[in-house]
Symmetry: C2
């Protein structure tokens, strides 16, 4: 007899208590990228470890050379075994003056009539989403004394800084992390009523370039009109990365990009994503993506290039008539299909070098590189999850790619040989990576119920 109704009822009754637990985790400022917060980041790891231990997991902190991972096991011989991944580190909070509430004092607010959210840094990314899954586990254990599947929980502390220690950790501990598939709750819903299974994620190439012209900063009166200005050169180079149709001009960039099937495109077209709803929410009107592509393609199945930061010369108050000796930019590419991150990084370096006069030099920092990831659409895990979500949300379940990158999915595939089920409950307006991050209470509540259903389905 299905224990699901009782588990769901327990989740409904326990929502307030689950919010209190989430709030106490959110209060720990685990800003992993900032060494000033090292102690608090570790404390956030320990908070989760203790909670999992109380739930009956064998739960430990394992050192990595950076922030520790939380590793918890609850084996179930004879049953499928899942590996759940999340992260306990959160984004920095600046600029602080743009927050309506304090980023590490979670509050529950009604942002529209009948729509409550919890506001804090990490409310969605990733603590809220991790707890969405953990609460489903808690209620299942409390109600039934067991889980339908074996479970390993792996929660790291460096995702916001590129997870530098994770791939080697996975490699070194592959035997201990053995599983049939992975589960990640870090993606978004299609909209507030429609759940989403993420079928692909974009890869990432993150580069930094510094151009050096003169051997020092120059007076722009004495040298202006003759001396090369690296800001001009950098601006022109970055401006040439896209042509007037929105296509990226780096040679060879589109190698490995696959054209979707007509059926796939028809499915996407049915989703009817419009510029008005997608861009309107952020104060924009017109997509700058490749002409001739649907908006839905531009944001998940087409590769991109974005300059994430640029600096050079005098940037303080007032004026200074300087021609700087250097100018720099951080440039990242989102990859799809079989685009090769190593080749693209090299092509970008060449693209820059080809545009330099012989008295200006370029230096590069390669911050990260990971290929795109695809999940087989017909896997039994995905079918079961789709049915469970349809039962919870009562309507359609969208399966589509995400524009974002979750490189650990690629590590699971390459190193552990397993696919990942990506089901998350974030929303486009959650303001992850921005001030005033929030997570809808309906996402938290119905997400818990969704995972409880998925767990039951995976064990059957």
């Amino acid at each position: 007899m299905s224990q699901l109704p009782a588990i769901l009822a327990r989740l409904d009754a326990g929502l307030d208590a689950s919010l209190e637990r989430l709030s106490s985790w959110l209060e720990i400022p685990s800003i992993g990228t900032d060494p000033a917060f090292n102690a608090q980041t570790r404390a956030a790891a320990e908070w989760l470890r203790a909670d999992l231990e109380a739930l009956g997991f064998k739960a430990e902190l394992r050192e990595t050379g950076g922030h520790p991972v939380v590793l918890a096991h609850r084996p179930k011989p004879g049953a499928p075994h899942a590996l759940f991944y999340g992260h306990y580190d959160v984004q920095p909070v600046d600029p602080l003056n743009l927050w309506d509430t304090e980023p590490f004092k979670p509050v529950i607010r009604e942002i529209e009539p009948g729509r409550k959210v919890i506001s804090a840094r990490g409310a969605c990314d990733d603590k809220g989403q991790v707890m969405t899954f953990i609460e489903a586990v808690r209620a299942t254990l409390a109600e039934t004394g067991d889980l339908p599947i074996g479970l390993t929980i792996l929660v790291e502390g460096e995702e916001e800084s590129g997870s530098v220690n994770l791939p080697p950790y996975i490699k070194a501990n592959a035997a201990e992390l053995k599983a049939d598939y992975a589960l990640i709750c870090d993606t978004g819903m299609w909209d507030r009523e429609t759940p989403l299974i993420t079928s692909t994620l974009r890869g990432m190439v993150y580069q930094e370039v510094t151009l050096t012209a003169a051997d020092r900063d120059l007076h722009s009166g004495l040298f202006g009109g003759a001396a090369a200005n690296p800001i001009h050169l950098l601006a022109r180079i970055l401006g040439e990365l896209h042509d007037e149709t929105g296509r990226i001009t780096v040679p060879g960039f589109y190698d490995g990009v696959h054209e979707p099937t007509n059926a796939q495109k028809a499915e996407w077209a049915d989703l009817n994503l419009t510029e008005k709803e997608f861009l309107g929410q952020i104060g924009l009107k017109h997509s700058v993506g490749e002409k001739g592509r649907m908006l839905i393609e531009q944001i998940q199945s087409r590769p991109t290039c974005d300059v994430n930061g640029i600096w050079g010369g005098y940037t303080g108050e007032g004026s200074k008539t300087v021609i700087p000796g250097q100018a720099s930019a951080k440039v990242s590419f989102r990859l799809v299909g079989d685009q090769d991150p190593v080749k693209i990084a090299a092509a970008f370096h060449q693209f820059v070098r080809d545009r330099l006069p012989d008295d200006v030099t370029a230096e590069f920092i390669s911050h990260s590189g990971s290929p795109a990831l695809a999940v087989p659409p017909d896997s039994p895990v995905l079918q079961k999850a789709r049915k469970a979500l349809a039962d919870e949300w009562g309507g359609r379940v969208v399966s589509i790619g995400s524009g974002g990158s979750i490189p650990v999915g690629g590590d699971f595939k390459r190193t552990l040989g397993i696919d990942t089920l990506f089901v998350g409950f974030g929303l486009d307006d959650d303001r992850v990576h921005s001030p005033n991050e929030k997570y809808d209470l309906s996402s938290f509540h119905k997400g818990q119920r969704s995972w409880a259903r998925i767990l039951q389905a995976l064990g059957s």
Copy 2:
């Protein structure tokens, strides 16, 4: 009988003492742009006021709403009256780690065999150059008890921040500042052996632009490929300011630019300024100025555009996958001839706005605007100065425009109706506005002798 030989002998004998006086003035960190140094900036004004008072001038500090001006009078009825201008504020010193010596502990160093310099912030710009003139006055007074001409000395404290209070001060005190011509010692020599009378100075338009796209910073995975990136837009706009021949593309920009006479061009060509010597000293090879123009034109008689600063997005350590909501740049133009700073600022605003989609906005800050300045080449003052310099330096005297801007010369012309004699002793490698600023002792010494000669000539 000429008292000049005795005055020159006194200057030769008094060089060390003059260096000590200059050093004590240089020790006062009068960083006018930084409010933290307000007291020291005022102290530098008082130092000069007291020195001029001791020389027999009626010398006062006059309040302006910002830093005070030093105003000193020594009238001489029946004689021509000159107005000497300089500034006691100095540039900031960052980055401090690039200085070989402490910026406010002046030292005398031998940078090449037989070539000594004094190293400090302000050593050239402008305290060294001001004292070059004052020492000539001191020696003339000490030797003869009088000056050949009437003299008003006006030394302000806000030149490095755009002299915002000076034009209204000059207007309000025009009667008191009445003179036949102005004298400014703030320009450079042609080379270490060749003095220079500056015949034109470039004007200045200094603008700041901020583009705003989305109403907040965005996650580049979720929004990349669709959301407008203001860094890209700004880069493309700035990259379009020049065409491939080095010409500025802002419509109407070249209105008011005059073609020099063939005789003028021949004179300039005779100076034989090469890329190797001019750009080689700063580690560059190729001029980026307008094709078809001599290097000497590009740096003083052609107008320019330089981006002085650019910033946007994430610029810290490591990586952050953000599409910023804003990007900004400081853009300045050097003007020549009759180019109109008001029209050029407006044309720049339109240039930017013409290139924006309708969901991206631009805001501008107009930091400053001043037209170019020309000095009549046949004025008696200029002829006298030319002969005095030829006597001191023993060879040719170059008369050419400066690439830099000294807007107060324009205020003297428009408000007081007087022309300015620009004779200075700076050198291209003085590193004004950079770390390790210095002033050659030969510039200080022979500059003092030059001004003593010029003063005698002006009174005859």
